[in-house]
């Protein structure tokens, strides 16, 4: 069991070293998310609509779009020079590749989100500090669900001819339930509703996360098979 975790950690570490060396992904994700928020601010008139009503939607759209860049890159990087083949040749369970990629995607996306949140607060003039705890919990659940399904589909789409196009087409319809859930929860939190009043949404997102991690464990062997 210890070996299994070490193998996962090795894959996560490898992704981190690559990122530290190239510094391509995090900055690109951050700037892209910022641009998405800006474009939304220009396309909606904030003096008419309530910022706390449209804000959560804009925030999550920015997270998802920027996250898709990260997902697209995560397996594409491995396709270059046949690195994925190398990973698959390692005498380890294939699920370690999935978990390693899931964790590194999750950490990259979370770092980006932590940088975006203060900017979101400033641009939309929304006070988030007093709801920070529950908000981070909602962001955790949403990001985990996004990465759980996204990592699976990204491992699949990286082998297609039109990979950057196919990933969003496959991923976004499946993410709609979780998007509705997290946007609703974020909006309610910013209105001052405690998280305990939204347990059905928490349950929905949490079970989404668990089921899709489970399905990925069961099906990843069939995707990473050459």
């Amino acid at each position: 069991m210890n070996l299994y975790f070490n193998q996962i950690a090795a894959i996560v570490w490898k992704d981190f070293v690559t990122e530290l060396k190239t510094r391509e992904l995090l900055s690109a994700m951050f700037i892209f998310a910022l641009l998405v928020i800006l474009i939304f601010i220009f396309s909606i008139n904030l003096s008419i609509v309530k910022a706390s009503e449209v804000g959560p939607g804009v925030l999550w759209v920015a997270f998802l779009f920027a996250g898709t860049i990260g997902l697209n890159r995560s397996f594409m990087l491995e396709k270059e020079n046949g690195c994925l083949m190398g990973l698959m040749l390692v005498p380890a369970d294939r699920t370690t590749i999935y978990f390693g990629k899931l964790i590194s995607n999750f950490i990259f996306l979370s770092i980006m989100e932590l940088f975006i949140l203060p900017l979101f607060m400033i641009f939309f003039n929304i006070e988030i500090l007093e709801y920070l705890g529950p908000l981070l919990m909602v962001i955790f659940l949403g990001t985990l669900g996004f990465c759980a399904l996204g990592t699976l589909l990204s491992s699949l789409s990286s082998n297609l001819k039109t990979r950057e196009i196919m990933l969003p087409i496959l991923l976004y319809p499946l993410l709609i339930p979780i998007v509705i859930g997290v946007v609703r929860m974020t909006g309610q939190l910013l209105e001052g509703v405690p998280l305990l009043d939204m347990m059905k949404w928490v349950g929905l997102t949490a079970s989404f996360d668990i089921i899709y991690i489970g399905v990925s464990i069961m099906t990843i062997d069939h995707i990473l098979e050459e």
Partner: protein, 238 residues
């Protein structure tokens, strides 16, 4: 010689199915346009329900078959299940599109708008998008084991999404007419018997149509495989 006999056999079976489907459809049309009385408040437009509900039933059933075939494919790795999943997804998408077309035609005079962001409408639209993506994935990859495996994974992931879609959009908002056939009052209590009978015939006709289309599509796909095999054989022998 053997092959020919098998083909003739399946031809015989499918011709029975063709006749059965044809007759049931004829009966359904007669019931819908001649037998069943016009609904009091909604008028003749209500008759579209006899196409709308069976199409919805057929598409959900087809997506369920995709799910089952996908699991069986990953388990057994037989080309047969891949063909079933592919054929069923195609039929499901067609009838899901019909649901999305007939719905607004009914909604415009009754609700006054083509589309509302109601739970069932939204979930049908999402479902349509998922299975269109499934067919696109199939179109993007070359025939072979990879396509079948990827499609099977998506077939499973997509179907497991249905409960999440259902609850998320239900808690989001809903105005769709409540189910009349199986309601809390008991089976078929919310509807006139003649309407229920017509709907039943129509459901039967659509279900038969599903099997007819499936049979045709499976046969077509198998013939395609056979042609590919013969092509390769001839290519390497010459």
């Amino acid at each position: 010689m053997m092959d020919q006999e098998i083909n003739e056999d399946s031809g015989g079976e499918s011709s029975i199915l063709v006749w059965l489907t044809g007759i049931t459809f004829f009966a359904a049309m007669a019931a819908i346009f001649l037998f069943v009385p016009t609904e009091k408040t909604e008028g003749p437009i209500q008759r579209i329900m006899y196409f709308h509900i069976p199409s919805a039933w057929l598409s959900f059933f087809a997506f369920f078959i995709v799910f089952v075939s996908s699991i069986l494919f990953l388990w057994k790795k037989e080309r047969e299940w891949d063909i079933y999943a592919n054929a069923s997804a195609e039929i499901g998408v067609i009838f899901c599109s019909l649901v999305l077309i007939t719905g607004p035609i009914w909604a415009k005079p009754i609700w006054g708008t083509w589309w509302v962001w109601d739970a069932r409408l939204t979930s049908t639209l999402i479902l349509w998008l998922i299975y269109v993506a499934y067919l696109m994935l199939r179109a993007q990859t070359d025939a072979g084991s990879m396509r079948a495996r990827y499609a099977a994974v998506l077939g499973i992931v997509g179907f497991l999404n249905i409960p999440f879609i259902h609850f998320s959009v239900l808690w989001w908002r809903t105005f769709h007419p409540q189910p009349k056939v199986i309601s809390s009052e008991g089976f078929g209590k919310g509807m006139d018997p003649s309407m229920l009978a017509t709907l039943g015939v129509s459901l039967g006709a659509f279900t038969l149509l599903y099997f007819l289309l499936m049979g045709q599509r499976i046969r077509q796909e198998k013939l395609k495989d056979e042609i590919d095999r013969l092509k390769r054989e001839k290519l390497f022998s010459s």
